[in-house]
Symmetry: C2
Subunit: 310 residues, 2 copies
């Protein structure tokens, strides 16, 4: 692993952030660059909310709620309680400490700062040494065409409707211009990792940015499977694979979804056969990260596996 000087990891929220916490400790401080999905970003209570950036920031800074995987530890919900009293929107639970982040970011955006610049500053203020880039500075919204409820922006579908309406199609509404540094980071990487995030709603938005997929195709790309034993570790991914691909959820379906992009995939022990003869290397192991020690162990095994791939 010592020859890995530049690693890029594409990440969504909870699962991706847990792997990042391991990678950040397994690699030298300046080796890792993270590109984070911002397709889930939205405005709520007049504030700009970037759920995946925040989950990554809180996890890497050690301020996050470890067991839950998102939000801050020792959080309170006083503002939400008052908003409810006033009859305001309460379907998205913003914590009080979390509000500090949204207030600072929203005000900085209103002043004309870019999301990348704000992201760099906030991570630095929380003592995170890892370089973290949003996928884009301008908005690009993940939209969900549903069977029963028409088209919903991601958070309306995922949080407000609890991902119940079946998904017919996922598409992206907004910029295709990646944030400064995104393409350069991929082009300069010895290894690109796709975190155990939902391919449709956490990774595809990043791949939809101009030049990202083409740049990845020229690098060594390995993924950590978000599917374990036919089920998603978290979230509605298994149902989405069944509906959108017409096949059962499996690591093999993940490999096929990425259409030749992956040179290797790390899967839960026993899931190896699902990958089949794809030309994609497979390694089995324990993939569910229940605590920070597990994240580090898994990050090391993933990097070791990647080193065996030419």
């Amino acid at each position: 692993m010592n020859d890995l000087r530049r690693v890029v990891c594409l990440s969504g929220g909870v699962g991706g952030a847990r792997l990042l916490h391991g990678l950040a400790r397994a690699l030298p401080a300046d080796a890792l660059t993270v590109i984070v999905n911002t397709g889930d970003d939205f405005r709520h209570w007049g504030l700009y909310i970037a759920p995946d950036l925040d989950t990554v920031m809180y996890t890497l800074s050690g301020l996050g709620h470890e067991a839950r995987g998102w939000g801050l530890a020792e959080e309170t919900f006083g503002a939400l309680e008052m908003v409810k009293r006033y009859g305001g929107d309460d379907w998205f639970a913003l914590g009080d400490r979390d509000l500090g982040t949204h207030l600072v970011r929203t005000e900085a955006l209103a002043r004309g700062e870019t999301l990348s610049a704000i992201t760099a500053r906030l991570f630095e203020r929380l003592g995170v040494a890892t370089r973290v880039l949003p996928m884009a500075d301008a908005p690009c919204r993940t939209m969900i065409d549903t069977d029963s409820d028409g088209t919903l922006p991601f958070q309306q579908w995922f949080v407000r409707r609890r991902a119940v309406p079946a998904v017919k199609r996922v598409w992206f509404d907004g910029t295709r211009t990646p944030a400064p540094g995104v393409i350069e980071a991929i082009e300069g990487a010895d290894l690109c990792i796709i975190g155990p995030s939902n391919p449709y709603v956490s990774v595809d938005p990043i791949l939809a940015m101009d030049g990202v997929r083409a740049a990845l195709e020229r690098r060594k790309v390995v993924a950590l499977s978000p599917i374990v034993g036919g089920r998603a570790v978290k979230g509605p991914l298994a149902e989405m694979i069944q509906t959108l691909r017409g096949e059962p959820a499996s690591p093999g379906a993940i490999v096929r979804h990425y259409e030749g992009l992956l040179r290797g995939i790390f899967v839960e022990e026993g899931d190896e056969p699902s990958v089949g003869a794809s030309g994609c290397a497979v390694r089995g192991g324990r993939t569910v990260m229940t605590d920070r020690a597990e994240s580090l162990r898994l990050a090391r095994e993933l990097l070791e596996f990647a080193a065996t791939i030419p």
Copy 2:
């Protein structure tokens, strides 16, 4: 007192709100209309903050912090702690529950609702039956010309600089149009009360609205003195009277400040002589409200005193 069907009270923050709490219980629910100073309103962390409206709302709803007189009871400061970590402005301490109010109001203003409409809705949601009007819907900012620090907006002078720079002049920057209902409420009032608020920065902004002073001059107006024994119950009023009027702080100085507007003033027992031969009726009593029972007692005594004035 039973013939008092329509009472208007002009109010700033803490002291005024305490009297209102008593008046709201001493009078029938539909008898009282409050006109609140909004000259202190400002934007902070991108949010619209209306300190006096909120102090009145929290006090009348019973949700306020009784001993402190402003803010909410059982408040937390998680958002502020995070804003500090990010290096943001921390000179104005917004509590978490309090933030719920600012978020709802700011979003409603951004949608185009008027401050009066939002105020009516929020008070109603908190179960306050008293009718409360902001002095104006558009901004009118109280500005402080200081000896040592140039011109400061009110909160910058009062909170950030702790009211230390000596005041040379107070002026108002913005609208002169009173909110809907303000003039009508005064014109229809049997009695107008000026709360024990700072005349320069809490009452004069209301008097500066077009038609307010002229309408008051045609009504019976009585005040509760904010000066007790030569000192302000709270805040920098005594120093301001000395500097701006060139006389020691006293209820008499308050009467003279309002230039013939007052037909009566209720003062702390022993302070009666300061009023002198002004043509303004004087009643002495205990004027410092230390709890809600005292507010009610004082409100009743004030109403009783007003009833003795023709």
